[in-house]
């Protein structure tokens, strides 16, 4: 019995320790921004790995989500005779919520896990250690460019998701279901506010970008340097990112859209 309590206490202390290390790590990543800007080619390389290679999945998912919103939204609104409001519904759902959140979840799965695996593997094969012994700070050289690439990519990807989603909704609503095209846009435009809806959505995606990328690079950097350790770290990245994104989404939504 006491052994179990002791084990619980120990894992609790270890968890807090990890959290503390994670925050110190975060601070180091922030401090590394000037270096990353100076070593611009590194950032470009990582923007490619993290952003460009995520483009396809975000684009396709956004399109399908938008189309489904169009279908489901129409089915519900037509009962109230309000099917002309489909544009509003699709746009607000995407810009406020689905764009930032779904993009963040997909990003965590695709780019986040890849970052964790890459950094974890570099740790396991002693490349990070070797770099340290060559007097090159691995945090500045390897981790920070990847972190900042994620932070920059996320809002762009979320915007692409929302934009292509609206187009998907238009294709289904106007093209397939026969809603008036003009009504689709004209109902939407007064109701979607630049600062309240779009800007808040962008802020959400920036916050998610910071959190998801931070979790991904930290799990990799902190992974146990064995193949099992790296695999566990990759799983943790996806799980913790998902929980963090959904939890933060609730908090941010309450702050931004609550009364």
């Amino acid at each position: 019995m006491f052994n179990k309590l002791q084990a619980l206490g120990r894992s609790g202390i270890l968890a807090i320790e990890r959290l503390g290390r994670g925050h110190i790590f975060f601070w180091q990543l922030l401090k590394a921004l000037p270096t990353v800007i100076v070593r611009f080619p590194l950032l470009i390389q990582q923007l490619f790995a993290v952003g460009v290679l995520s483009f396809l999945i975000i684009f396709v998912s956004g399109l399908f989500v938008g189309m489904v919103l169009g279908l489901q939204g129409y089915n519900t609104l037509v009962d109230f005779g309000a099917e002309e409001s489909l544009g509003v519904m699709v746009a607000l759902s995407l810009v406020r919520e689905l764009g930032p959140v779904v993009t963040a979840l997909l990003f965590a799965g695709r780019a986040g896990s890849a970052l964790t695996a890459e950094i974890g593997l570099m740790k396991a094969t002693e490349q990070l250690s070797g770099m340290e012994m060559m007097a090159v700070d691995p945090i500045k050289r390897i981790v920070a460019p990847r972190f900042w690439a994620g932070v920059i990519s996320m809002p762009l990807l979320a915007a692409i998701f929302s934009a292509i989603g609206v187009v998907g909704g238009y294709l289904v609503g106007v093209g397939l279901l026969g809603i008036d095209g003009g009504a689709f846009w004209s109902q939407m435009q007064p109701r979607v506010d630049l600062s309240e809806d779009i800007l808040n959505g962008v802020i959400k995606s920036v916050v998610f970008g910071v959190v998801v990328t931070w979790i991904a690079v930290y799990e990799g950097y902190d992974a146990t340097p064995t193949s099992e350790g790296v695999s566990r770290a990759t799983t943790r990245t996806v799980v913790h990112s998902a929980l963090a994104v959904l939890g933060l989404d609730f908090i941010l939504t309450a702050l931004m859209f609550g009364e």
Binding site: T125, E126, Q127, S129, G130, E132, M133, M134, A135, D137
Partner: protein, 267 residues
């Protein structure tokens, strides 16, 4: 003045004491071998010298500077003058051999591309791999990877190189290559080399000074000839590689006959 001076070094990891107040002197310009059974923390010693780990007690002076009290910036400056060869080579896997060797130059100097090219080719030539410069690390054999790592370690013309188990797992030819490279580079570039190994024959063939470490203490030190005539039976067993002696063959167990005649359930 020894290049590396270690006094009263104590280092623990968890409950295990790895080093218990040891003293070591690494002389300049010579090849020093540090030997001992597996798991005595020989690699840990290299990390302590390089400042990646901090000792609980004691001091490590490298070229007169106390490593554990250095600021981050000073430590990095010191590390530029130390080269380290990891057991696996630790090459950066997403870069070619050329880029790996050029890495320290590109990170730490502002040299032009043509100057870098000259230096990289010269370093690769000294390890005999100039023709392999476009290969990727995944295309190299273990021995070749280590040679590339060695070329990378000498790029900034360091004052010392630390070798972590350089002979492990090598075929006889690449073994011979590494052995002769360590000695030749040491003499040609005026380096000081620290070789950590449990490969007695190879290490003894090139070392000027040997330290034998076991259970966190220096058991014996001296030139290879001195150690071969050592009075300690343990050192004799180690140097000759005998399977049984002060370090027993059998793990502690009950009497053999009793065990065989014991109950089936007594596994």
């Amino acid at each position: 003045m020894p290049l590396v001076e270690i006094r009263g070094l104590t280092f623990c990891r968890g409950n295990r004491t790895i080093f218990d107040g040891i003293d070591l002197d690494i002389p300049q310009g010579k090849v020093t071998a540090i030997m001992g059974p597996s798991g005595t923390g020989k690699t840990t010693l290299l990390r302590l010298i390089g400042g990646q780990l901090r000792p609980q007690e004691g001091t490590i002076h490298v070229d007169g500077q106390n490593v554990s009290t250095l600021s981050r910036g000073d430590l990095y400056q010191l590390r530029k003058r130390m080269g380290m060869l990891f057991q696996s080579g630790a090459l950066l896997t997403d870069m070619s051999v050329y880029d790996n060797v050029a890495f320290p130059l590109r990170e730490h100097t502002e040299l032009s591309a043509s100057m870098i090219r000259h230096l990289v080719l010269m370093k690769l030539e000294s390890v005999g791999l100039r023709g392999a410069r476009q290969l990727m690390p995944s295309e190299l054999s273990g021995g070749m990877a280590r040679r590339v790592a060695l070329a990378r370690a000498i790029t900034l013309d360091p004052m010392m190189i630390m070798y972590d188990e350089p002979f492990t797992g090598q075929d006889p030819i690449s073994m011979g290559v590494i052995v002769s490279l360590i000695r030749k580079l040491n003499d040609a570039m005026g380096l000081s080399s620290i070789v950590v190994s449990h490969d007695v024959a190879e290490a003894a063939s090139i070392a000027d000074l040997i330290y034998v470490i076991s259970n966190g203490k220096v058991v014996e030190s001296g030139s290879p000839e001195q150690l071969k005539c050592s009075e300690s039976p343990w050192v004799q067993q180690f140097m000759k590689g005998e399977p049984d002696g002060p370090v027993p063959f059998h793990f502690a167990a009950k009497d053999y006959v009793d065990d065989l005649l014991g109950d089936v359930s007594d596994v």
